[in-house]
Structures are given as structure tokens and as C-alpha cells.
Amino acid sequence: MRRFIACWLLTVPLTGFTAGAADYVKLPGGRFHTALKYEDIKENMRVAPFALMRKPVTNAEFLAFVRSHPQWRRDRVASVFAEPRYVSHWAGPVTLGPAALPQQPVVQVSWFAARAYCEAQGARLPTWVEWEYAAAADEMRRDARSDLLWRERILHWYSQPSNRPLQRAGLQTPNVYGVQDLHGLVWEWTEDFSSLLVDPDNRNQGDADKAKFCGAGALSMNDRDHYAVLMRVAMLSSLDAEDTTANLGFRCAKEPK
């Protein structure tokens, strides 16, 4: 393990500056214990190897996408794909302006828009489990979730008011895989956000509407100590695919090369 860390320390300075939309890192996958309760999976699930963007997509990157895909300009987008607040903090349809610095993560993006962006890169949004698996790591360990100190660090973000400006993407130290900003910057869309908590087969559970009331979260979580995860899921499950918020961005995933 020590050797592994040492190798990683050497590689980071090389890769830390390679910017651009195609900046992915490979994650090995493997057996993973999700904090969510899936009807068909009892213990661990297997996460297939995948590649994930090191950083959330930035305003500059998303602007380039909008320029090359003008159907996603805020003045041209179909209203079913993005609510009126879609990139409303930009100065104009193809202008960032003072409230949207180029290196900040793009926010006020709908799930449809995020998905279109990833598709344009030959990629996709990560699944919840992929995101959770990547976000279970800290700087040194692949699974730091049982570390109370680490949990405190994550919860620290939740206790900050959201009226502060967002930091630039990539400011925080990479985790052991080389992925940055999974915690402490923005919420992130996942491909399957709309199915979180909702069981399509109510014969199994008997609580078909369990996602809709406050006692429900406790029924759907395997590990309730993971408040950070619970809050992510609660946030995502409150949204529709055309919704945007001031703290919600995204990053893309794809199959490893």
C-alpha cells in the first residue's frame, strides 16, 4: 500500500496540469458495498471498470459545447429539456460574464443538458453506484467511509452556507484515484438519478410510495451513518430532469480504453 501511495504521488504532478474536456482517469472497479438498498443485491455489488472525469465540467468547457451545439443555448433550448433558470447566471447565451468564471464548475444545468454534453464527448453520465464508488475514496484510501474524521470533512461542506462563491474546479486535492471535487464543491447529476429510492416493483417492498415521506429514507438505506450519501440521494431525488440549481453540476464517465 505504501508503495502504491508513493507511485501515486509521483504521477500526480504529471497529470495535474493536463487540462481539457478529455481529462479522464481510469477506475478499476470491483466489489463495492453501496449505502443504498437495492432489492436484488444483498451484500456487495460489482462495479465494472470505468473512466471518470477528474473534475466537474467547467463553465468554459460547457460554453464551448453550447457554441458547437447551439440547440443547447439558453435562448434556444427546448423548454422540456431545461427550465428557465438554465445557465441563467451567465451574462448571455454564449457569454460567461462576472458571475460565471471560466474555471468554476458549470451549474444551473439540467440533466438533459448534462447528458447531451457527455454524449457529445462520446461519454455518458456516471451511474449513482459509479459515483458513490469513486466518492468513497479519500486521498489515501479507496474506501474511507468508515473513517469518522473523513465523514466530518465531508459534512463540513454541508455546514457551509451556499451563498459563497464556488471555488474553481480542481482546487481540491485528488483522491486516491486522481479524481477531484467529488465532495465539497457541487452536487452532481447521475445517469440514473430518477430511479434512486423508487422501487418499480412494489410487490417486493410493499411500500411503493416510500420515497415520498420523511420516514422513507431510513427504509432505503443500508448504512445510515453515511449522511453525506443520504443527503446526495435526497437532493437528487427531489429533482426532475429539466431542473437546475445553483449548486448542481456534473461530470462524465465512459468505458475505459
Partner: protein
């Protein structure tokens, strides 16, 4: 005995004056009350209309009549049928003590001690004035002697001493049920706390002589707190943890003895239009329950399991070793979540049950979500003014130290403060302090080196030893390192000074600290 219109409260009277239909209701109600009085003339008085039931003093209706009756015992969540008797009887109760391993949560087992093989134990239903002949049978394979203290027994110990039973033995004792009410029973063998914590409790209902009003569904739910050596949901077989019990720090707080006992396929069920009655006990051994059904209001609560009811109750308190009866009429279909409203117990210790009501929607009573519209508040947009100013200033070559400090503070919040804390105090034994740091004072420029190349291995800061790994912050630009470093130098009684972008660029190019080896 008072049995007149005066029994009807002032609210009903006022309403009756306004509405003819309610006047009619009032008349019917009055007639019903009068009828009740007549039927009971010379007999025991119905609790709902008497100012005082007389308690045990008026609970002896003479010697048992008719043939012996064998009590119907039920396992939770079911409740035995009403006794339906009009005269006192001799009732035979045969209760088995069983020690057995059962799941307490998914993939977690626990050695429960039980009355009748379940937690809570069998529900017992008798009538006030009955003579109860109680047989307690301790299974031959039990490890422990056990006994039973029924809170419905009049007499020292509540039956405990008379029922002390070794493994492979049966004890018998007899009592007359003089007080009506819903009573907890439990094992009272030393150590009592452990016997109760292992699940040895249940309920006995002593019906008032006129019985309880008929309802559509009756269920039996009992809360208990459990103390396992392992953490909540830690897999495998879990042993009892006496110290947690003494500390009153339960691992689980459960309805009916296991997580999931009353959810999913095992949820309680009812139909819209039905009235549900819950007999709810709290075995403890330690916690008091704030019993609540999310989305329902109890039409009636016979608080503390006694003879009076309160109406229109949201949450009722059930003491350890106490019980309550509640009734509610179901108007709207859906899943009603039953919780201990000391709500962390519901979310993090298992105190959850579901009552599933089927039937037609009634949108006039509950619409479901009607609107999810955009809402725009009036809070100002945040901006990265400080950082932006610093960046612009640096480009034009007029960066002041104040610009740097301001920009550094914003950056520090976003990256350093999660470990070193917003006040720079760090975390004892793990993350060294940056505040008033003798390590920084000894060589202020070293901040840039540590940020760029990390710091691994033992260091001593302000007299305390630390041995952890700070990874290199190589994701930071030269500007950012300079600004963070300058902010730290000028905060929390550090020596002050300034780190420039040029210095950072030079330190970045130089060899990093030995702990990280040589760079490519």
C-alpha cells in the same frame, strides 16, 4: 352516576346549535348514552361516562362463573378476539418461556429470551373480574431461570416470586384481574435489565366489563431497546452488551423485536374507511417512546393504557413499562409510517413500522402534490470578487498584500479548511494546527514547499507530535499557492510576511521533500 346530556362537551353543544345534522348526531349520541346507562343499571358502570370507575375496589364481581376458559394467546402483531363475556370466569393462561436465536436485523442474529417464542411475547386478553390461573413453562433447553411480573396483577411482585421457574419446570399462580386496562408484563429475574433487554415482555389487556367498542382492525405493537456488542447492522451474531445497557445507549430501538418486523410484506394492513385500534406497549428496558404515526392523528388515545381517552392526539408518550391504546379512522390510502418520534431512533436505530391502507383516493381530503413550480428568491448572487480581483491585479502587476490575503482566504476555505479547520486550529493528533504555528514561524517560506510537495512522516508542531500524510497540493496554481501561503502567514498570530508567485514557481521547480522521492 351521571349519565345525561351534561356528559357532552361544550364543543359539541356549540356545534349542534349551528348545524341541524349535528343536532341529530347529538340526539343519537345522547340516546346511545342513555341506552348504555339502562343496559348497565345495577351492573358495572361504563368507564366513558362515569367520573370514577372505582378501580380495584369495584373490580371484584364475585367468584368465577361457568366452565373454565382457556385464554387465546396470539403472537404479535395479532390480538386475540374480545372475550365477549358478561360475567367473571376462571381463565387458564399457559405461557411458554423460550430462549432462541432470531434475526434482529438483516444478516444480524441475537439470542432473544421470549414469552411464547416472539418479541414481544403472546398477547393475553381477559376481562375485569376474571380469575386468571397462570402457568409459566420454562423450556427444558433454556439456560436461565425466568419468571413473570404482570403489571395487571394486584399483589407484591406482580407474580414474580410465585412464578420463578427453573429450566424444564412449570409454575402456577392465580390472581384476580381487579383493574381494567392495558398492562405490560415482563420477566423480573436478576439481572432484570438484561432479561428485558433480551425481549422478555408483552401485553395483557384486562377489558372493562362492558368490553371495548368494536373496531375493524386491532394490532399489537411493542417497542423495545436493544444493546449489542457490535454496531448497528454489524453482520453476524451479536452478543448483549451490558455496559451499553447501563449507559442507556441502545444499538437498536425496535418495534416487535426486529428491524423489518412490520415493514414490507409484514406491514400492518387496513382499508380506507376502517377504524384501527393499536395496543402499544413499551418494554424498555430504558427508553421512553414518543409514539407517532406519520400522516395520521389519533382520534382517541387511552393514555397510559388506562380508562380515559384523550382525543385528537399527534404523539403520545409511552413510558418504559407502560402502554397505550389508540384508535384512528382511515380516510386516505397509502403507507403510514409508525415511528418513535425521538427521530434518530427511527432513522438510525430501526424504530420504524408501516401501516398500509388500501382504498380509493380522496382528493378532497388530501390532494397529493398539486404544484411544483419554480421559486426565485431574492438573495444576491455570490461572486468570486476577491479571487477575481487578485488575478486581475497580478496580471497588471499591482497586487497588494491585502489582495493576496483576501484571495487566499477564499481559497483556504475551499481546500485547506476541511482538515486544518476554518480557524486554523487543526485537529488534535491528526491535522497539525496552522494557528500560531512554531513550524511556520521557524521558516515561513516553507509553507510553499509543503503546499507544493506535501508533508509525510513525523513532525512536531507547538510541542505536539503528528505523523500523517498531507498529499502535495499540486493541483494549485502558483498564484493560488502564493495567496494561500500569504493568508496563512498573516492569520492567527503567525509572523506575517508574503509569498510571491515567482517564489512559488521557483520552489515548484526545485526538488521536493525527501518523503515524496524525486520528481520524475
Amino acid at each position: 352516576m351521571l349519565c345525561t346530556e351534561a356528559e357532552v362537551g361544550p364543543f359539541e353543544k356549540a356545534a349542534a346549535m349551528r348545524h341541524r345534522t349535528q343536532v341529530l348526531t347529538l340526539v343519537v349520541l345522547s340516546l346511545a348514552l342513555l341506552a348504555g346507562c339502562n343496559a348497565n343499571d345495577g351492573g358495572p358502570e361504563p368507564a366513558a361516562t362515569a367520573s370514577d370507575t372505582g378501580g380495584s375496589l369495584k373490580g371484584d364481581f364475585g367468584p368465577p362463573q361457568g366452565p373454565d376458559v382457556k385464554a387465546v394467546l396470539t403472537s404479535p402483531p395479532m390480538v386475540p378476539p374480545a372475550t365477549g363475556r358478561k360475567a367473571p370466569a376462571r381463565v387458564i393462561v399457559e405461557l411458554n418461556v423460550v430462549e432462541k436465536d432470531m434475526p434482529i436485523s438483516e444478516g444480524v442474529t441475537y439470542t432473544f429470551w421470549t414469552f411464547g417464542g416472539t418479541v414481544p411475547g403472546n398477547f393475553i386478553r381477559v376481562r375485569q373480574g376474571d380469575t386468571v390461573v397462570f402457568h409459566l413453562r420454562n423450556m427444558p433447553d433454556s439456560k436461565m431461570p425466568h419468571n413473570i411480573d404482570l403489571h395487571g396483577v394486584t399483589g407484591p411482585g406482580g407474580g414474580a416470586a410465585s412464578s420463578f421457574t427453573a429450566p424444564g419446570h412449570v409454575s402456577r399462580f392465580t390472581f384476580k384481574a381487579l383493574n381494567a386496562g392495558l398492562f405490560v408484563y415482563h420477566c423480573a429475574t436478576a439481572p432484570v435489565g438484561m432479561h428485558i433487554a433480551n425481549g422478555m415482555y408483552g401485553l395483557i389487556l384486562v377489558e372493562p366489563p362492558e368490553g371495548l367498542p368494536p373496531v375493524d382492525k386491532e394490532y399489537y405493537v411493542m417497542q423495545g431497546d436493544f444493546y449489542t456488542a457490535g454496531k448497528y447492522r454489524e453482520k453476524g451474531h451479536q452478543a448483549f452488551d451490558m455496559q451499553k445497557g447501563i449507559d442507556e445507549n441502545p444499538t437498536y430501538v425496535l418495534f416487535n423485536g426486529s428491524e423489518g418486523a412490520l415493514t414490507g410484506d409484514k406491514a400492518l394492513t387496513a382499508k380506507v374507511g376502517e377504524t384501527v385500534r393499536l395496543f402499544v406497549g413499551n418494554g424498555g428496558p430504558n427508553l421512553v417512546s414518543s409514539f407517532h404515526v406519520i400522516g395520521e392523528i389519533f382520534d382517541k388515545v387511552w393514555f397510559e393504557g388506562g380508562s380515559r381517552f384523550q382525543e385528537n392526539v399527534q404523539t403520545t408518550l409511552i413510558p418504559s413499562g407502560g402502554a397505550a391504546i389508540m384508535e384512528f379512522h382511515l380516510e386516505v390510502p397509502g403507507s403510514y409510517v409508525i415511528v418513535d418520534h425521538s427521530i434518530f431512533r427511527a432513522f438510525n436505530k430501526g424504530a420504524l413500522a408501516i401501516l398500509k391502507a388500501e382504498g380509493a383516493e380522496n382528493l378532497a381530503i388530501y390532494s397529493g402534490k398539486e404544484v411544483d413550480a419554480m421559486y426565485i428568491g431574492d438573495r444576491a448572487q455570490p461572486n468570486l470578487a476577491a479571487v477575481a480581483v487578485a488575478a486581475t491585479a497580478a496580471k497588471s502587476g499591482v497586487l497588494t498584500i491585502d489582495d493576496q490575503i483576501k484571495a487566499g482566504q477564499a481559497l483556504f476555505t475551499g481546500t485547506c479548511s476541511t482538515c486544518h479547520q476554518p480557524n486554523g486550529e487543526g485537529m488534535a493528533g491528526v491535522f497539525p494546527p496552522l494557528a500560531k504555528s512554531d513550524l511556520i514561524a521557524a521558516n515561513p517560506k516553507r509553507i510553499a514547499d509543503i503546499l507544493l510537495h506535501g508533508l509525510a512522516g513525523p513532525v512536531t508542531v507547538n510541542g505536539k507530535d503528528y505523523n500523517s500524510v498531507m498529499p502535495p497540493m499540486s493541483q494549485l496554481t502558483d498564484d493560488e499557492v502564493a495567496n494561500i501561503g500569504t493568508y496563512v502567514l498573516n492569520s492567527w498570530d503567525n509572523p506575517g510576511g508574503r509569498i510571491s508567485k515567482a517564489e512559488v514557481a521557483q520552489r515548484r521547480a526545485s526538488a521536493p521533500a525527501p518523503a515524496t522521492g524525486s520528481e520524475h
